[in-house]
Amino acid sequence: MSDVSVETVADTMYDMVKEYHGKKNLKALDLQKAMIKKFGDDKVDKKMCKAAIRQLIDSGKCTYSYVGGSYIVLPPEKTE
């Protein structure tokens, strides 16, 4: 489908989470929409975004948090 790799999407998502840290909580869907907008729907799809989020979470670079809803955030040790 694309020349954009899951790793690239994951890295871009990570940068976005870092940028918004302390300003706005981002949901998985916010990240997905932003990636499709950035790379174009011919290069990035939902499946790819899902895989990228999974990579971010499984690697420990990001974690889930619950504040009324579920959000993707930096783990506490990365924000200290």
Partner: protein, 394 residues
């Protein structure tokens, strides 16, 4: 151990013949976590305010659900329950366990947490009440070693639950436990990695008696029904209900039929099946003489919820009949279409029922590619709020 907390107000709840959560907690008050928990609750009763905070970043690696972070705001006064996280464990379909399995779970839980449990939470999971953050990973590892997994929490697919269907009930129109298990396995990613605007609950009932209250408590209710005629055994009807007595068929059955599709002349019961809404009332009352038809499947309903942000909603029919045991792939397809639409346009913390109310049922159906049907009503004899376009009209 520190001194036992005195709880005069809570002790009032141990009086009388009824079951009491205080009585059960007091049995294990030697556990310091439970002791402090009782003390904290007594204090809340005195001050008339709760001392819990919940949420935050707490869970096991890779999962976004299954652990509900809980902390008290009185860590100096009640340090043993300062961290008191709740664990949801995915229950076996139909809640069938053997005692050996429950003992294993309790042994793990006494080692890793407070030992307090709730069998079962309203979503259906086993709920393990109260553990510390440092115990979460070891606990998860212990649970998976006996083939249990965490359930859902947050904005994800919540742990699907079902009645015990064909295992114990002659009315089950499909194998609820099998379908519940298959749906649970199919949506593992959605269950453990929250990606929705808000929670999504599946519940599976084998018939319209709806023993898991799917119509009121789930976003997607799958309720067993049938397509053909109710089977009547006129001989059994005479034997057990006319000669045997006990039931006034005209008053208790015919007059209580919601669609008035039955008639009774004192000797013969007749049903206009084309008007029957399969509510199960007549079958429940005349259970030795009536049975659901042979062409069995399920109706898919959508939009039910208990009150949290908005008020309570009952689910309404989305698919009037489907041979569910042979059409699961079709269900997955429809559900994923709905998730896409809801994910794209749903507001934060907006349940699917509220979303449909906001955008209108007609628009919703058009977007998910389903044709309107007369069964798509929220209440009997009400307008379905769908505007049909006449031929030639734009």
């Amino acid at each position: 151990m520190t001194e036992k907390r005195q709880t005069p107000k809570l002790d009032e709840l141990t009086k009388g013949p009824w079951p009491s959560f205080v009585t059960e907690m007091k049995k294990v008050q030697d556990n310091p976590m439970v002791n402090d928990l009782l003390g904290q609750l007594e204090r809340s009763y005195n001050e008339k305010i709760g001392h819990w905070k919940h949420g935050g970043i707490v869970g096991v690696m890779g999962y976004g659900g299954g652990v509900i972070g809980r902390y008290n705001d009185l860590p100096d006064d009640f340090p043993e329950c300062n961290e008191f996280h709740t664990i949801r464990v995915n229950q076996p379909a139909g809640w069938f366990y053997d005692s050996k399995t429950i003992r294993k779970i309790c042994d793990i839980w006494e080692k890793r947490g407070s030992g307090l449990t709730n069998f079962h939470g309203s979503t259906g999971d086993m709920v393990l009440l109260g553990t510390r953050t440092k115990e979460l990973e070891p606990l998860f590892s212990d649970l998976t070693s006996i083939d249990f997994d965490l359930g859902g929490s947050g904005s994800d697919v919540r742990t699907p639950s079902c009645c015990n269907g064909k295992a114990r009930c002659e009315w089950a129109c499909y194998d609820t436990m099998k379908i519940c298990h298959e749906v649970t396995m199919h949506f593992q990613d959605e269950l453990h990695r929250p990606a929705f605007p808000y929670k999504w609950k599946f519940k599976f009932s084998g018939c319209a008696n709806d023993c898991v209250a799917s119509i009121a408590r789930s976003d997607c209710a799958v309720i067993g029904t049938w397509k053909d005629e109710i089977k009547i055994d006129q001989k059994a009807l005479q034997e057990h209900y006319v000669n045997g007595g006990g039931v006034d068929i005209a008053r208790d059955v015919v007059n209580r039929c919601p669609s008035r599709c039955m008639s009774w002349d004192g000797t013969k019961l007749e049903i206009a099946n084309e008007d029957c809404v399969k509510c199960m009332h007549c079958i429940n009352v005349l259970h030795k003489a009536l049975r659901p038809g042979d062409e069995r499947g399920a109706a898919i309903l959508i939009g039910g919820k208990a009150p949290i942000i908005g008020g309570a909603l009952l689910a309404f029919t989305l698919i009037p009949f489907i041979d569910i045991e042979n059409s699961l792939e079709d269900i997955y397809e429809v559900v994923e279409e709905i998730w896409d639409l809801w994910g794209e346009y749903g507001k934060n913390r907006e349940r699917i029922g509220e979303f449909i109310q906001r955008i209108g049922l007609g628009n919703f159906l058009e977007q998910v590619g389903l044709e309107p049907a007369p069964e798509m009503i929220s209440h009997p004899r009400t307008n379905p709020y769908i505007f049909f376009e006449l031929d030639g009209e734009e």
